[in-house]
């Protein structure tokens, strides 16, 4: 193996995920300690820690190309794994690694550039006869142009960031009066998030399913797919739950979509792991959306049903090895569901709820896999994402997996912030979800309530509030109790007091 030491240019659960595989392959790892999270859990998985916590620069180190290259050189790492997010899909970073003789564990700079720029990707797909939603030829520069195209292809349309991805910088426009505002919001968001305000327009496919195909390709031109993932459970284009396979596909459709996914990857001579995203409408017509040129958050569900370690494959491919699997070797066995447990307040429209994790208890069972970078005492900081853990549950079929998921969700215990757990507890009990009858608009349109609670739970909470009131006001040593000017107490003190009951 050429690769002997990998610099992990990332944090959190994905840094740990990569280091676990590296260790099993006897490759050593370097993690970067930052000022934002000097005691983070991922640091304890590394063979070597580069301390960058004194760095006071505005940009996080995981976005600082020069700095990362210099860390790789100083720690004598011969490869860099970017994880997801940060620089994972940045062609300039991949190029810089190449120039400095550091192996970038990911695709070529050329593939990153072409697929990263959505308008180029669209043109490429068009040239290859890939089914796509109608839309603008290239970028659009103002709302007048946007309105003209929208009139031609018909409302609703979706404005997307050319350099976008991960669901950011997208806005749906249903009528021309909304265009000016939405165009402005989308391009502002695109500029902030991707340093590029260019946007393009596509026909908005109503009520589609989001189906994506996992791709693996080597540097010798062998490309295969590892089946699909169903990611329709999303809110504001942010995925919340993913599963593999999808109950919307049969063998024929899987074969056809898989073949096209491979064809798209081939158009940029793709190697490493990648994902081709499609929208599937109710007529079972599908449209190419974009290709993600990185390992994805939801990769574990594919690993569970194929038995293939995707990080290991990425490392082997980067090492120049030939893919040892042929398409016919790939067998999908059983079912897997991933719940993204985030520090978000479902009662406040999934608003981020940063804070310190006081208590964390995660279940362990043969059918449960948990990928996390959080431990008791960890802080969910506003500067990074709000993920606490990925709960990955498997079973022999979808029904059994949902049942296992229901049990597993009740065993996850997190204190310190609000989480998306109540959402998943409700979702797995929802009839439409159980029937597989849902699309990307499911959360917005089909759900009356975003969380599970029963009337007894509210009553028990009421009992606790009353108990506190009694403790504070009626059992005090003082004789006179003033209900009007009851004291203000810190929750910290209250939580201490609770233990004295």
């Amino acid at each position: 193996m050429k690769i002997t030491k990998i610099l992990i240019a990332n944090r959190g659960e994905i840094a740990i995920r990569i280091m676990k595989t590296a260790r099993s392959m006897k490759i050593s790892t370097v993690a970067v300690k930052t000022a934002a999270e000097p005691n983070a859990m991922y640091l304890s998985y590394a063979d070597e820690i580069f301390d960058n916590s004194e760095d006071t620069s505005e940009i996080p180190v995981f976005l600082d190309i020069e700095k990362l290259i210099s860390i790789a050189q100083r720690t004598k790492a011969d490869a860099v794994h970017p994880g997801y997010g940060f620089l994972a899909e940045n062609p300039y970073f991949a190029q810089k690694c190449l120039e400095n003789k550091i192996i970038f564990i990911g695709p070529s700079p050329d593939a990153l550039y072409k697929m990263g720029n959505k308008t180029i990707a669209r043109k490429l797909a068009m040239k290859n006869g890939i089914p796509m939603a109608m839309g603008s030829e290239g970028n659009i520069s103002n709302e007048e142009e946007a309105i003209a195209i929208a009139e031609k292809i018909g409302y609703p349309v979706i404005i997307k960031a050319a350099s976008g991805g991960g669901g950011r910088g997208m806005r749906i426009v249903r009528k021309s009066e909304e265009m000016e505002k939405m165009f402005l919001i989308a391009s502002k968001e695109a500029e902030k998030a991707f340093n590029d305000p260019s946007v393009f327009i596509e026909k908005y496919i109503e009520n589609p399913k989001h189906i994506e195909f996992q791709i693996l390709g080597d540097t010798k031109g062998n490309i295969i797919h590892l089946g699909e993932r169903e990611c329709s459970i999303q809110r504001k284009h942010q995925k919340l739950l993913e599963e593999a396979p999808s109950c919307a596909l049969d063998t024929d459709l899987r074969e056809e979509m898989g073949r096209i996914a491979v064809q798209i990857a081939r158009s940029v001579n793709y190697y490493s792991a990648g994902t081709v995203e499609f929208l599937l409408d109710s007529d079972r017509d599908f449209y190419f959306m974009e290709m993600n040129t990185r390992i994805q958050v939801e990769h574990p569900v594919t690993e569970v049903i194929t038995g293939i370690d995707l990080i290991e494959q990425q490392i082997r491919i980067a090492n120049g090895e030939i893919l040892k699997y042929k398409q016919e070797d790939i067998k999908l066995t059983g079912w897997a569901i991933e719940c993204r447990i985030n520090a978000e307040d479902v009662q406040a429209g999934f608003a981020p709820d940063p804070g310190k994790i006081e208590n964390l208890s995660l279940p362990s069972d043969p059918y449960i896999r948990i990928d996390t970078g959080i431990q008791p005492g960890s802080a969910i900081v506003a500067s990074f994402d709000s993920m606490i853990a990925k709960l990955i549950v498997s079973g022999k079929d979808r029904k059994e997996t949902i049942k296992n998921c229901k049990m597993a969700l009740d065993k996850v215990w997190i204190k310190g912030t609000k989480t998306t757990l109540p959402f998943f507890r409700m979702l797995v009990r929802n009839q439409k979800f159980q029937d597989g009858n849902f699309t990307t608009t499911f959360i917005e349109k089909d759900l009356e309530k975003y969380y599970l609670n029963s009337e007894y739970e509210e009553m028990l909470a009421a009992w606790l509030a009353t108990k506190l009131f009694v403790r504070e006001n009626l059992e005090e040593d003082s004789i006179n109790v003033d209900f009007e000017n009851g004291k203000e107490m810190s929750p910290w003190l209250l939580n201490k007091r609770i233990n004295q009951f």
Binding site: I185, Q347, D385, N453, A462, W463, L464, V481, F483, E484
Partner: protein, 176 residues
């Protein structure tokens, strides 16, 4: 108001959605459902922190906020807000509410900490329910903060490119 402990035989926990739960004093560690009493226990240990034991199941609980007689309780990851009232204060509240009538002003607050990207209204603007008033960026997502009511903007308390805390007032709207 100075109360006499002896006169209070009942307490009411009123939820923010106006559901009323009544409990007799002295408060028992039992709750009656139908014809059966079930034991409720408040416990704490190293592994789980504070929890309620009810029908052989543990539920995580936390007191998020407490101010006067108002409590925000996190129960099984869902938060509930209650005001606990005595029979007297409940009576008084009813009288006061009848006098006060409907709220005339509406404060739009930041639902989460973040940065103001854009302010879409100014003093005197008319807004419709659901119309965005401010764009707030939090955790890399831009969120439209919408007006909860039809009305006229009385004041704007934030500027673009400034940071806000959760619950900071963004704009004040006169309900029309």
């Amino acid at each position: 108001m100075t109360s006499n402990k002896l006169r209070i035989d009942k307490l009411y926990a009123l939820s923010s959605e106006n559901r009323k739960f009544s409990f007799s004093l002295p408060l028992k560690n039992k709750i009656r459902i139908g014809k059966r009493d079930y034991i409720v226990q408040l416990k704490a240990d190293e592994k789980y922190g504070t929890y309620i034991l009810w029908k052989n199941r543990k539920y995580p609980v936390e007191i998020v906020r407490s101010r006067q007689n108002k409590y925000e309780i996190l129960f099984n990851d869902i938060s509930y807000t209650f005001t606990v009232e005595t029979p007297f204060s409940l009576q008084r509240m009813k009288v006061l509410n009848a006098k006060k009538g409907k709220a005339e002003k509406e404060l739009v607050k930041a639902p989460m900490p973040g940065k103001i990207i854009d302010v879409l209204v100014r003093e005197g603007s008319n807004v419709l329910r659901g119309e965005p008033v401010v764009i707030l960026e939090a955790m890399k997502m831009q969120n439209e903060i919408q007006s909860p009511v039809n009305g006229k903007i009385i004041s704007v308390s934030v500027k673009a490119n400034t940071n806000v805390m959760k619950d900071d007032v963004l704009v004040e709207i006169k309900v029309e």
